[in-house]
């Protein structure tokens, strides 16, 4: 409503011939201090999903003790890092173990069933299919309309054609694979820099709105001429046009008024690919950019694919990929695990820690940006060698603006992973009664982490 008013005013001004205007004109829309959004709204709460492929070794990853201050198992040692605030990273991260994906007799499509069960609450009937929207798009549908970008998707795999952010089958949000491309998209010429002097809206923004109106009229006419299959696709197209209109409205409104907001520095050199060093570096560069983007409220929803569910991570000079090793490598009888494959579990947890740590580096309100985030870290599988979908490893970093208690280990006692998805949706302010279908239907949130 607020946006609409602002746009109407601007449009009126433009029609009258004046195309530049200063900040004072917009003062009525923002409050006096930088700690809250206009009209006294609290700081935004953001949701992110961070996924790594091919799981972990349950005996070495699951904490043995429950509750606050759980004992950190060997494969989670990356969470032992100390933050600038003096706290340990682990104090901000809850571990959710022993939650299962339940097949109800459906096939365990390797690496797909576990992922889809956790993210959508339903099991696919065919391989490579998406039975329902993924968690991030469910949340973006509710809160994504308030920001310039409904959501931002990222990947460290170098593959532009794959993300696990699905509106539905066939409608997936393509990821940014290049930190520089993400930077340009968010902080390029369109970004209204709060530290760059008086704001002058670009008159072309208004004209782009006129273009979108014409395009919507085309879409409405076409909608009447096609079948139901195509109507669905044109409905999605309409939603997408609306999103761009929203984006332009927000650009017209001027720079974000958040104390922690500043323009991200240009990212450093990038090298795209799935060698461990490449993916780790991309992850850090992306974490940096998304933290600035979140602090400037450019989006409230993001997702990151650190590695594919069929993980293509590899060490330079090696003939084997992470995924191959999880199946091919023998379990060392003395150690009790697969030594080479396990290296990639450590790599993945270091990357997760890198990502979360970055969010904790930006001060916001009385704490840090991480306090106002809910980042869901998860894999597609538990023990990859057998495509295990019991005890899917899941973590939640951040407090969701006070909605969640961080730093807790909860054992799910084989209840469905969707309980975590339900907890997340409610923490993000959604009025979700239940999440998932059949045996995956969850109605009880994980109360142990709810504040």
């Amino acid at each position: 409503m607020k946006r609409f008013d602002r746009r109407t005013l601007l449009r009126g001004t433009l029609a009258g011939g004046a195309v530049s205007m200063g900040l004072p004109f917009l003062d009525c829309f923002v409050n006096d201090n930088g700690t809250a959004l206009a009209q006294g709204a609290p700081l935004p709460v953001r949701f992110g999903a961070w996924m790594w492929g091919c799981g972990m070794n349950p005996d070495r990853w699951n904490p043995t003790t429950e509750g606050l201050g759980y004992e950190l198992p060997i494969e989670l040692q990356a969470l032992d890092r100390e933050l600038p605030t003096g706290a340990k990273l682990r104090e901000h991260v809850s571990i959710l173990s022993d939650f299962d994906v339940k097949l109800d007799g459906r096939p365990n499509f390797p690496h797909t069933a576990g992922l889809m069960g956790t993210l959508t609450g339903s099991l696919p009937l065919q391989d490579y299919t998406v039975p329902a929207p993924t968690l991030d798009t469910i949340i973006a549908a509710q809160i994504g309309g308030q920001t310039r970008f409904r959501s931002l998707e990222m990947s460290c795999t170098g593959n532009p054609n794959q993300s696990y952010s699905f509106e539905r089958q066939g409608v997936f949000n393509a990821p940014e694979i290049s930190p520089m491309a993400l930077y340009t998209r968010v902080f390029g010429p369109e970004f209204a820099d709060p530290n760059a002097g008086p704001f002058t809206p670009d008159p072309r923004l208004m004209l782009r709105q006129s273009v979108l109106s014409a395009v919507k009229a085309d879409r409405d006419r076409l909608h009447q001429r096609v079948g139901t299959h195509d109507q669905q696709r044109l409905d999605q197209y309409f939603t997408s046009v609306r999103q761009l209109e929203q984006q332009i409205d927000i650009l017209l409104a001027g720079p974000p008024d958040l104390e922690s907001c500043s323009k991200a520095p240009t990212p450093g050199a990038e090298s795209l690919g799935t060698e461990v060093g490449q993916s780790m570096s991309t992850n850090r560069l992306m974490a940096d950019l998304i933290s600035f983007a979140l602090a400037c409220d450019q989006t409230r929803v993001f997702s990151m694919m650190f590695s594919d569910r069929i993980s293509g991570l590899r060490q330079p000079g090696s003939s084997s990929l992470h995924h191959q090793l999880t199946h091919d490598e023998a379990i060392d009888s003395a150690l009790g695990y697969q030594p080479e494959a396990t290296e990639f579990v450590f790599v993945s947890m270091e990357a997760w820690a890198d990502f979360v740590e970055r969010l904790a580096a930006i001060p916001e309100g009385d704490g840090t940006l991480l306090d106002n985030c809910l980042v869901f870290g998860h894999s597609d599988i538990s023990f990859a060698k057998i495509h295990g979908i019991t005890g899917i490893p899941m973590m939640i970093a951040g407090s969701a603006g006070g909605a969640l208690k961080p730093g807790v280990h909860v054992k799910g006692n084989t209840s469905p992973t969707t309980r975590v998805g339900l907890t997340i949706q409610r923490a993000m302010g959604l009025n979700t009664e239940s999440f998932g279908t059949r045996s995956m239907e969850a109605t009880q949130p994980v109360s142990e982490i709810v504040a």
Binding site: N173, G317, E329
Partner: protein, 554 residues
């Protein structure tokens, strides 16, 4: 939705009449059985990235750099052409389309090129000129929407041009905004196919003449219809036998057919992965392999296919021919001398070069391998699924591959390791289908370079393909050439590519018929393309596709 014997005969014989030398129209057809065609549904088809780019180049100028990062194409049932009937536009995708449209419009209307696309001079450079704007919108819009704009559509663009020209004090900036509104319209981003009752048999729904123009043009040239085809379309010619046949002959005999053939095989073989830099190899293990080499390897194979098929050679011989094209860089990887210092030269591999047929090319062997090692299974799966149209089921969830991995243990070669699978019942079903094929290609490493040994043990490339025994990759190529499923599989793939969907049960008889015709033509792909576009499968439909049921999840 039936095709009478009479109609079918007429169509094929007109095609034969126009193109001298076409076999099969000598009257023997009179005894052919009637082909009943119950064609499948039509759906909007989102332009692929390649079609998006080509349509812009052909309409607005080759000089334009079209941004490549737009919404990714959706590959479904092994084809982008099928995925395009399902793809929608996501918010981030639309954002990219709009940015791309803006970049394109700016280049199309820059001072150096505007006169090529704007058919008039404005009265003033600094304000609106509705008449000239309308002329531009109608001309460019017709090529981009693949039909004439309606009054409403044109009026909306003229109004945008006027508003923008007056706001920005720049006539051409006004046209830019108008052009962006064309390039981001669903009427451009999606190919719209419209059906109408056939006046001679109202129970049968045919594609309109205008819809046929797009179908033909994107299938055969993979771009928007040219002026000649648009004129024929709007004149109603493409729903008449003569008018259609005339345009089909023109399209099939144009050099632009090379683009169409290239696009079909690039889609079928998933070669886009090369363009996107996704065929990666380990630098330490394969120092010769670079992104440039990868792209040239892809180009080598496509050039080989295009030259072979446009010369009307037997499709099956692609799998045995030593004829190809090389650059000096590829020559290094193939370990053969290449005379031309820069660029391409036709090259015929020597008899003892062990480079007969497409399966010996670097492209396939690199694409269907892992970054650090070859994969007999991936290669075999490609041959079964893509070249022979046979299904390979997904692996079982609980598998132990330990034995395949242990390259330093007792089992030194891929053959020894994979044979261990076949002793395991859960694995054997699929691996007995894929592995004998892939093992014949083990003489090519993960980047397609020749080798004789793996871990010090000689590689055994012998095997058999559904009963045809061979000793090596060249023998596999010959067995493939003679495989009864090879020709029919291309027929099926081309049909799916043309229709943008899976084959329907009502089209099986047509496919059988096309198989026969393809064989009779001695497997000439140009003939097959003609048969397909003149068939009722291509020209009729059951109507618009219905939405899929949401399943039992809701």
């Amino acid at each position: 939705m039936r095709n009478t014997d009479f109609t079918l005969m007429r169509v094929f014989c007109i095609g034969g009449f126009v193109l001298a030398g076409l076999t099969g129209c000598d009257g023997s057809d009179a005894s052919s059985p009637a082909v009943e065609v119950d064609a499948g549904p039509v759906a909007l088809r989102r332009l692929t990235a390649e079609q998006f780019t080509r349509s812009i180049h052909d309409t607005l100028g080759e000089h334009i750099t079209v941004p490549s990062r737009i919404d990714p194409d959706d590959r479904r049932d092994g084809l982008f052409a099928v995925g395009s009937s399902f793809a929608s536009v996501t918010p981030s995708g639309f954002e990219k389309y709009e940015a791309a449209a803006s970049a394109v419009a700016e280049q199309a209307l820059d001072a150096a090129h505007r006169d090529d696309v704007v058919p008039c001079q404005p009265q003033s450079l600094t304000s609106s000129d509705e008449e000239c704007a309308r002329a531009f919108v109608e001309q460019a819009g017709r090529r981009l929407f693949r039909r004439s704009l309606t009054t409403e559509e044109a009026d909306a663009r003229v109004a945008i041009a006027a508003e923008a020209a007056n706001t920005l004090n720049d006539f051409y900036a006004g046209l830019e905004l108008a052009l962006i509104s064309v390039l981001t319209s669903p009427e451009f981003l999606f190919r719209v196919e419209v059906a109408e009752p056939d006046p001679t048999d109202p129970s049968r729904m045919r594609l309109t003449s205008v819809s046929m123009a797009s179908r033909l043009s994107y299938l055969l040239w993979n771009t928007t219809p040219d002026d000649d085809l648009m004129a024929a379309a709007e004149n109603g010619d493409l729903v008449t036998e003569n008018g259609l046949a005339e345009q089909v002959e023109r399209l099939l005999s144009s050099p632009k057919l090379e683009t169409g053939i290239r696009s079909i095989f690039s889609d079928l073989y998933d070669f886009k992965q090369f363009d996107e830099g996704l065929v990666r190899k380990d630098n330490a293990l394969f120092p010769v392999y670079t992104q440039t080499l990868a792209e040239e390897a892809k180009e080598q194979t496509l050039r080989t296919i295009v030259a072979h098929l446009t010369e009307d050679k037997d499709y099956r011989e692609l799998f045995t021919t030593p004829e190809s094209f090389l650059t000096r860089r590829l020559g290094v990887a193939y370990r053969v001398p290449v005379q031309t210092a820069n660029g391409w030269e036709p090259y015929v591999f020597a008899e003892d070069a062990r480079r007969d047929g497409l399966l010996s090319h670097i492209s396939f062997n690199a694409l269907y391998s892992h970054p650090g090692r070859s994969s007999a299974t991936l290669r075999g799966k490609f041959v079964r699924e893509v070249l022979l149209c046979q299904d390979i089921p997904t692996p079982p969830a609980n598998i132990d591959f330990s034995i395949v991995e242990d390259t330093m243990g007792e089992l030194r070669t891929a053959r020894e390791r994979l044979e261990a699978h076949v002793t395991n019942d859960a694995c054997a079903g699929c691996h007995t289908l894929t592995d004998p094929i892939g093992l014949a290609l083990e003489s090519f490493d993960a980047i397609g370079m020749l080798r004789d040994e793996e871990n010090g043990v000689p590689i055994d490339t012998s095997g058999d393909l559904d009963g045809a025994a061979y000793e090596d990759a060249a023998g596999l190529g010959r067995a493939l050439r003679d495989h009864p499923a090879l020709g029919p599989c291309l027929v099926r793939s081309l049909y799916r590519y043309a229709a943008g969907r899976e084959v329907q049960s009502g089209e099986q008889a047509l496919l059988e018929f096309l198989n026969e015709r393809f064989a009779e033509s001695e497997y000439r792909v140009r003939e097959l393309m003609r048969e397909v576009v003149l068939s009722d499968g291509f020209r009729t439909t059951s109507g618009p596709r219905d939405a899929e049921e949401a399943g039992d999840e809701s």
